[in-house]
Amino acid sequence: MITLRILTRNITPQIATSTQHLHSSKVLFSADSSDSDSSDDEKNKRKIVASNSVAKKEPRVDRLNALLQTMTMNAKTPSKVDIAVKPKKISNARSQLSKKNEKTIVNLFEKKLTGAAKDVAATFGGDTSKTESELLKKILTPSKSSEEPMDLSKLVKGMNIDRRKPQEYQSNSRADQVHDIIQKTKQNAPIQQQMSRPKFSGKSRKKIHINARVTVDSGNPLGIFEMDPEAVVDPNIPTLQTWDHLEKRDLKLLVTHPPIHFIDQMIQWTEQGKLWRFPIDNEQDLTIDQEEHFSDHVFLEPYLEGWCPRKGPIRHFMELVCVGLSKNAFMTAQEKKDHIMWFKEYFDKKRDLLTELGAYGTEKSSEELKQVEA
């Protein structure tokens, strides 16, 4: 599928230089712009072209290209179906069965392909087996496998296969080659393919400029994570909460720069808790005020009940104290209560003297006092 994508992209080349190069490559390889991506493909083509007579070159290559295109199209469809059909979890027996079916389908398809390739190679002349294997390789490598996610050993094995030099294909029999190729397709791994790609030399830099334009999401997915991106993320996934908090703090610090104007400065101060927050609230952060009711601050007479004489100088004095306290905005209710209680203790200590002086008023009130004490 790589081939197809590149084809469509190259139809409208982005840069003038690339157009030029494309043009020249067209002249050379007659309307084939698809393989400028991988240079080994190009090399193959060149060999093919070289092996042919100049006069027959154009129509043959054209035919070959047309065939290649249709074949890649064909190759694309079944693999697509595989992906779509295959459910993620199926019972063991069923999966085995379906695998078997798949295998037969693939085998049939392989046969067809090999046959077709053979025909082409025959019409083409020259080194038949080589042409054929190249054709097959080109078709089969990019297709996506629907197999289970590969394991490590297989991957390593795949890497070994890939490191073989192309000459080895020639030495093997054709059946072996096909087998190898199909094996590789099953393991898939675009990675293997990538590992085997030859290194670009400095000289080829200009040629590669043709494909300098890259679409970021044109890669082949690895096929490891098969999850629905739309699926709702479970908010209760356990995480390291403090770690998250600290990381968020650090990230925020990374983008908090010296303020650029005073309002920006105020924003930073607000965030650091140095300024009043919006919406404006006079009692912001005054938690004590929220806990104490207004009446506790203002109505303090109840605290006089039980010990203070009903009239006389002490009562008069204490009432004034209460009025004063009720107007004080800087003391908490508890402090006000403590303040009154201090007077209570003070007068209690001096009770003898005060009674003698008659400050406690009538007998009745002193009786009351005794009752309270009892």
Binding site: P198, F225, L254, V255
Partner: protein, 652 residues
């Protein structure tokens, strides 16, 4: 005129009022009034709305500098010093507040502002509760949290708090967290990419971990993950790997964060590219098997790993595969992702790639947010590639436009990276744009946003030189004053370049006012170089070419007396400077002396020419004797210099 009473009294008015009331009521009936729902506003929303109305003023110095011409910094060094001094003052104030807390008895703030209080000091006698510990952990006060924990230990600490403390210690290990009080210090920090210190084992970490790992599985899982993250973050590879394996073996879930940190370790575990790749795939597959959803950290860690692969292949295709895979799994790429892609695709020696254009297509007009510390490297990298890789000013402008979108400017990183960014941008612009449009850009950026480094200035001078004499006439005086401001006058190559432009490459026509301006500049250069502190190692040293240029420029500007000063240096201090003047320059000087009737100076020129074996001393002597009338002493001197025969030959 009707009074109000009269109006109300008249029937007509009353009727009108009634009719109006009626219509209002009808309207109210037909369409019900919808009261808009209250919009919840955050504490800074109004401020942000106000801030968005403030535009950028490139002509004003940055807000942090005192708004007074004398205090506005004009060089990179001054910018740094002023800003850091200001913050050092704040730091000093905080220190005094901390050391002499007993002197500050007034508590004017109500509610109390925590930042203005000295930091609490904890010792054996201080009363601490679990809440104190929790607050210390929240505010990332590492040493305090440890002290409090030691105090609390005998009373017992809840498992939750222990876990929190373990995470704090794993996150910061041994380094003190960055304070949020000193933005300037962060801004002027040298570079983000400091080498990470190694993991330092800490008895409290061990103790916490030992006590937590034997609890029930949820708690043990969190403890394992915290320690995996910590050891992996501080590159304690073996331990992290051991814990990771143990965690998997015990069947505890591994969090995505731990996987991400492990991925970052892969690069240290294997050296060959292929093996690393296999290893990475292995970790990713383990993630998938455990049903862990990858996040942005996974994507960036995997891409970071593929930057180490061979370029262009397989690095490029692996990177694209990873990108596709992760975006398919619902990961939203961040700027850091693109930074890694750029690193992979645009190598210095690799083939050219225009991936940046595609990335810009995706990002253009978007307001970006930081999701990963690597995000901060994107803009610098993008501009670097626009300049060095693509050499395309349009791409450069697009990157810059993206930077100016919304609050994206915050993602520039720090002062150092901002300088590099603008260095790339300006050099790219000066090399590929017409001088006019470049100067427009230059005027918006310099000097308040960016001050060009000497190398950039050299490029600009080159562009001016290429633009030709008439352009240089307009620009050079301004550029020179900038160079003086930016403290570039101690760079020898810049001085040489300026002199060369004024003298040779962009010589103004003789009737131009530029001659005077250039002479002023030359005289300024002379004074600056002469006024250097003696023994200064970086001092600019004269050479004959510079001196000659200065002299000629002074002559062109009509400053004969000033020229004489330079001339006496030229003739008397031979051996202090290198090289000799050219014949052309000597002729110009001689002509000027003759025009001004200064025989002594003319004689010294001829003596210079004769001593240095410059051909034509005799001719010069002849010119002198024919133009000016010399007294006998001077005549003898002249004869001694060039010989009688030559003069007579010419006379005859």
């Amino acid at each position: 005129m009707l009074t109000l009473n009269g109006r109300l009294g008249s029937r007509k008015v009353a009727q009108k009022l009634l009719a109006r009331l009626q219509s209002t009521r009808d309207a109210a009936n037909t369409q019900s009034i919808e009261i808009p729902k209250r919009i919840e506003r955050g504490p800074t929303d109004i401020l942000r709305a106000l801030a968005s109305t403030v535009g950028k003023d490139p002509t004003a110095a940055h807000f942090k500098y005192h708004d007074d011409p004398y205090f506005i910094p004009t060089s990179n060094r001054a910018k740094r010093t002023y800003a850091l001094s200001r913050e050092a003052g704040r730091r000093a104030a905080m220190w005094i507040r901390q050391e002499h807390a007993e002197l500050f008895t007034q508590m004017t703030a109500d509610p109390i502002i925590k930042d203005f209080l000295p930091r609490a000091v904890y010792d054996e006698n201080s009363k601490v509760t679990e809440k104190t510990l929790h607050d210390a952990i929240r505010d990332a006060q590492l040493s305090d949290a440890v002290t409090i924990y030691r105090l609390l230990k005998k009373d017992g600490v809840s498992l939750r708090t222990k876990q929190d403390l373990l995470e704090l210690l794993c996150y910061y290990n041994d380094e003190e967290p960055t304070s949020d009080q000193f933005p300037e210090e962060r801004w002027f920090r040298r570079s983000l990419q400091n080498i990470k210190p190694k993991w330092k084992s800490n008895d409290i970490v061990d103790e916490l971990f030992e006590s937590l790992k034997n609890e029930d599985s949820a708690i043990a899982t969190a403890a394992y993950n915290a320690l995996i993250c910590g050891t992996a973050k501080y590159l304690q590879v073996d331990k992290a790997w051991y814990l990771y394996d143990e965690c998997l073996a015990k069947g505890f879930p591994v969090y995505v964060r731990s996987f991400n940190n492990m991925l970052r370790l892969v690069q240290f575990s294997k050296d060959a590219g292929g093996q690393r790749l296999t290893f990475m795939m292995d970790v990713l597959k383990t993630m998938s098997r455990n049903n862990v959803r990858p996040d942005i950290g996974t994507l960036n860690a995997a891409l970071q790993l593929s930057t180490l692969l061979k370029c262009p292949e397989p690095g490029r295709s692996v990177a694209l595969s990873i990108y596709k895979e992760m975006t398919n799994a619902g990961v939203e790429p961040s700027l850091g992702t693109y930074f890694y892609l750029l690193t992979i695709f645009c190598r210095t020696n690799g083939p050219v790639s225009e991936i940046l254009i595609d990335i810009l297509d995706r990002l253009e007009g978007k307001e970006l947010e930081i999701k990963d510390p690597q995000d901060l490297f994107f803009f610098v990298k993008a501009m670097d590639i626009a300049r060095n890789h693509l050499m395309n000013i349009d791409v450069g402008h697009r990157v810059h436009k993206l930077l100016l979108t919304g609050k994206n400017y915050n993602l520039i990183g720090e002062n150092y990276m901002e300088s590099i960014y603008y260095r790339h941008y300006l050099i790219l612009a000066v090399q590929s744009e017409s001088i006019d449009s470049f100067i427009k850009l230059y005027d918006t950026l310099v000097p308040n946003i960016y001050i060009p480094e000497p190398d950039v200035m050299n490029e600009i001078l080159l562009a001016v030189e290429i633009a030709g004499a008439s352009m240089a006439e307009n620009l050079l005086p301004q550029l020179w004053s900038h160079m003086v401001m930016f403290e570039h006058t101690q760079r020898e190559h810049l001085m040489v370049h300026v002199l060369q432009i004024m003298h040779t490459t962009c010589q103004p026509p003789s009737d131009s006012v530029a001659n005077t301006q250039y002479a002023d500049i030359a005289w300024d250069i002379w004074n600056r170089i002469e006024g250097q502190r003696p023994g200064y190692t970086m001092a600019v040293k004269w050479n004959a070419e510079m001196l000659g240029n200065v002299t000629v420029l002074l002559i062109r500007g009509g400053y004969f007396d000033k020229m004489l000063t330079v001339l006496s240096y030229l003739t008397e201090k031979q051996g202090v400077y290198t090289g000799i003047l050219s014949k052309d320059q000597l002729d110009t000087i001689l002509n000027a002396c003759l025009e001004n009737g200064h025989a002594t100076a003319a004689l010294s020129i001829i003596s210079y020419a004769a001593n240095n074996g410059i051909a034509g001393a005799g001719q010069m002597g002849y010119k002198l004797i024919t133009t000016l009338s010399l007294d006998s002493a001077e005549e003898t001197k002249l004869v001694n210099l060039v010989g009688k025969e030559v003069l007579q030959l010419h006379l005859g």
